[in-house]
């Protein structure tokens, strides 16, 4: 299925959309299709928003951001996603609501969502200021010990979009490399799209690879290079220069606007 058709089929105004994939395998090509689709009022879910959500937020697609760590991973930690910053501090191009968690909390939320449970639990929120600002955090008491633990509500996005190395012709998907909640995001979501580097006749087992059977995926689209400028283990490394270059583009509303026009009008996928 062509990527643009798949995105148009799956993403609707107001949807909760999760583009997952840790610091590698980020579905940039699909994200740019979302930008072209111009949906409104999306709730964007992602542990590490990264450049990809800086772009979607800057493009005005989002009403809300659900996340656990937002920065440009190549540049370091503070204020490095300028479109997010602009939306949060100046409500430009639109106000952005946030719902934030820790990585462990987001992980527990995806696991709960993928497992048909309404919540997950963990240790780590007690004593922090996060619960007072985040409605999806509560506590639960152990029925055996009486101990109080942190509870987080399940994530069940309307759509999950992820990128993988390959799929076979039946649509079974193989992911490779450490990290990421790609599978959980797909399994937790109502609809899902996996973009892949290549489509092969048959998947062969490789170390550190995980598989998602076709019946758990709504659509697969062939998108070589679809995770660039992030890395796709076995295909390409992260393009650190592109990450640095984004800082200049993103820092300035006008320059960002030109970039956005390039994506929208010309369909050129720079960065």
């Amino acid at each position: 299925m062509p990527l643009s058709d798949a995105v148009a089929d799956l993403v609707r105004d107001g949807d909760e959309v999760a583009l997952e994939g840790n610091s590698a395998l980020i579905p940039f090509a699909a994200a740019h299709e979302v930008i072209r689709l111009r949906p409104r009022d999306l709730t964007l879910v992602r542990m590490s928003p990264d450049l990809v959500y800086d772009q979607l937020v800057g493009a005005g697609c989002a009403r809300k951001l659900v996340f656990s760590w937002a920065a440009n991973p190549v540049l370091g930690v503070t204020g490095s996603l300028h479109r997010l910053q602009d939306a949060l501090v100046n409500a430009w191009p639109a106000p952005l609501e946030i719902e934030e968690h820790s990585h462990a909390g987001m992980t527990a939320r995806y696991v709960a969502g993928a497992s048909g449970l309404p919540f997950g639990m963990l240790r780590g929120y007690a004593g922090t200021d996060l619960p007072q600002y985040t409605a999806s955090v509560a506590t639960v008491r152990c029925p055996f010990t009486g101990e109080e633990l942190d509870a987080v509500s399940a994530l069940n996005p309307d759509v999950a979009i992820v990128h993988a190395q390959r799929a076979d012709k039946s649509g079974n998907v193989q992911f490779r490399g450490a990290g990421g909640m790609q599978r959980e995001a797909v399994l937790a979501a109502r609809r899902s799209l996996v973009t892949v580097e290549e489509i092969v006749d048959e998947l062969s087992p490789v170390p550190d690879a995980t598989v998602l059977p076709s019946f758990a995926v709504t659509a697969v689209a062939h998108a070589p290079g679809g995770a660039a400028p992030s890395a796709a283990d076995g295909f390409y490394d992260r393009d650190d220069e592109a990450y640095r270059a984004w800082d200049e583009i993103s820092r300035d509303r006008t320059r960002f606007g030109l970039w956005l026009e390039g994506i929208r009008v010309e369909g050129t996928d720079t960065v």
Binding site: F67, W69, R123, G124, T128, G180
Partner: protein, 243 residues
Amino acid sequence: MTTLDRPTTDAGSWTSDEMLAVAAARTVRAGQACFAGAGLPARAAELARRLHAPDLLLVHDDGRLGELGAVSLPELFGYWIQSGRVDVGLLSAAQIDVFGNLNTTVLGDYAEPDLRLPGSGSAPEIAASCREVVVVMRHRLPAFVERVDFVTSVGFGAGPLDRAMLGLRGGGPRQVITDLGVLEPDPDSAELRLTAVHPGVRVEQVRAETGWPLEVSEDLVVTDAPTPHELAALRSVMTGSGS
């Protein structure tokens, strides 16, 4: 992020950031399992690995356990971090307060921030569950505050009993390593006090960069200067990692 290291007031051939990295690396022991946040903590851990802890097992937040392979994120956060199996967590922050609480979330008001910071990442669970935490950050007045604007990761809360009351099973901050010296929690009050200054640093200088009335340990020591061996290793790390 460009790092502008100030030369130290000492005439030595090392910068205050180099002293910081060396002092932080020394806190890591051979054979430990270690989680290190991005930036200064990661640099210190890598330095320790090259110096005295070649068998340091670095737990990464993408699930890699050293060179041994990777586990899924649910396993990482459940089996390895939350279980208390990580010996030491090296963390940094935009703000730290007198009780070692860390802020990486927001400067100013949460709803109307002056500056939005990256957020929690894995820091809260590291701070909650690692056997001990070592904080690694530059010692500047805006960062060393009496009370952080937002508690992202719990140090000692508001006193020595808070961690137990909150059910946090890790030991909390053992040391705060800065480019000026070392702070450690007072066992009675859990407040951070100065236990070491780096060579050439005066206590008044540290106090001037600390936003609370800083207590000084009766046993205040001066940190050993970086050895040529340590400096050589550090410089190879910094070249290698590009930081």
